[in-house]
């Protein structure tokens, strides 16, 4: 399936885009698996992806969340600093 993924913060900077269209074969796809696949596709961003949150349809998606075709996905690195 084709996933439209929003990217935030440092991740958007590393990948040079605020969104990407990502093709996935695996089904069912979980949030955890998506992070693995993205890390493999974008090794430069792997360490950031590993610590990032996945949101599906604007709700936090733990690793075992199933991602469906029409889902709106976002990958959000945590922000420290204060």
């Amino acid at each position: 399936m084709q996933l439209s993924i929003r990217l935030f913060a440092s991740l958007a900077e590393t990948l040079g885009a605020t969104s990407l269209t990502y093709h996935v074969e695996n089904k069912p796809l979980t949030a955890g698996k998506l992070k693995e696949l993205l890390s493999a596709s974008y090794p430069d961003a792997a360490s950031q992806i590993a610590i990032s949150m996945v949101a599906v349809d604007q709700e936090y998606a733990p690793d075992d969340t199933i991602i469906n075709d029409a889902a709106e996905v976002a990958i959000i690195p945590p922000v420290s600093g204060g």
Partner: protein, 336 residues
């Protein structure tokens, strides 16, 4: 002093009843840097009855660009942030109780520090301390308002024991990818925006505005015009904090070394309290210059290195990220 809060009591969401609840409330702000300054300003001006502030750091010139409670004199005197903050805030609102604690928050003192607190506000600059706060808050049933700001972006959420997931549900690693104010910079507007989102959730909680409470993590990039909200959803079933109730950060034995986030400084704690006058005499002949105030002593070493001895026993080795080198310098000047 009813006049002082007149515009806040006019606001329907607070009213006179809400103002009285604020007056009876007690909050604790951990970290009095950029977010912490703004948080304290909101809490004090809005009339929260008791505001406890905890921070281990002192004011430097590089803070002034974004840490709204401090001025040049504070930096010149290298005042502890909590001391400078208390002076300013006391002039702003003399009718509330302010407590300034110049110290490190650790797993051994956290429970004592948060006792009788209605709410904890996150002004820290690292996830290690945030996890400690999160675990302590959930073990004690205290809401915790997370905030983080770096570069032009930030995020915030309120975590309420029994009501929402906790910070550990969302973030499993204390690593933030190495992005700190000292590596990628920070601009002041995002700090105030994030702290203000924290502050408004705090006020909602304290006045009992449950329906308005945000069950979302807000993410903002003020430079690139982004705004995104993520519902907190359900707790992770294997969360070691809010579900398994193991509170890992409370169990950790403290390291004696703590590397401060990206600031080219290593902190070594564990020494007995320093008699600063005594140490001034000791160090003066050995270093390139010593400056002191009642709270700390700064000794200039070679090659941009600096030792800062705090009265409470901590030592900051500035100018290096190398823990081994820091230990060597510690051993050389302080001993073991």
């Amino acid at each position: 002093m009813r006049e002082r809060y007149s515009r806040q009591m006019l606001f329907a969401g607070i009213g006179e009843a809400g103002q009285q609840k604020l007056a009876r409330s007690s909050v604790c702000i951990v970290g009095m840097g950029a977010l912490g300054s703004n948080l304290a300003n909101h809490m004090v001006r809005s009339g929260v009855g008791k505001v406890r502030m905890i921070d281990r750091d002192y004011v430097e010139y590089s803070n002034l660009q974004r840490q709204m409670l401090y001025d040049e004199e504070d930096a010149r005197e290298a005042l502890p942030k909590v001391v400078a903050a208390q002076r300013k805030l006391g002039r702003i609102n003399s009718s509330i109780q302010l407590e300034a604690l110049f110290m490190d928050v650790t797993s051994s003192n956290i429970h004592e520090l948060l006792e009788n607190t209605d709410l904890v506000l996150d002004g820290t600059d690292n996830f290690q301390t945030r996890f400690l706060l999160n675990d302590a808050c959930y073990s004690m049933g205290i809401p915790f308002v997370y905030g983080g700001a770096v570069s032009s972006r930030g995020m915030s959420a309120i975590f309420i024991p029994g009501g929402t997931p906790c910070l550990r549900c969302l973030m499993q690693s204390p690593d933030a990818g190495g992005q700190t104010c000292d590596t990628v910079g920070v601009i002041s507007p995002i700090v105030d925006i994030i702290a203000s989102y924290q502050a408004v959730e705090a006020i909602k909680y304290l006045v009992g505005a449950e329906e308005q409470q945000r069950g979302e993590l807000v993410s903002i990039d003020a430079w690139h015009n982004q705004f995104y909200t993520m519902k907190l959803g359900r707790p992770r079933s294997d969360c070691p904090c809010c579900q398994l109730k193991q509170y890992p950060a409370l169990l950790q034995k403290e390291d004696t070394e703590i590397s401060l986030c990206g600031r080219e400084s290593v902190q070594i704690s564990g020494h007995a309290p320093f008699d600063l006058l005594l140490w001034r005499e000791k160090l003066e002949p050995a270093v390139n210059g010593v400056k002191e105030n009642p709270f700390l002593l700064r000794a200039q070493l070679d090659e941009g290195l600096r030792l800062v001895l705090f009265a409470d026993g901590r030592v900051l080795i500035q100018g290096t990220d190398d823990i081994v080198r820091a230990k060597t310098l510690y051993a050389r000047y302080i001993g073991n």
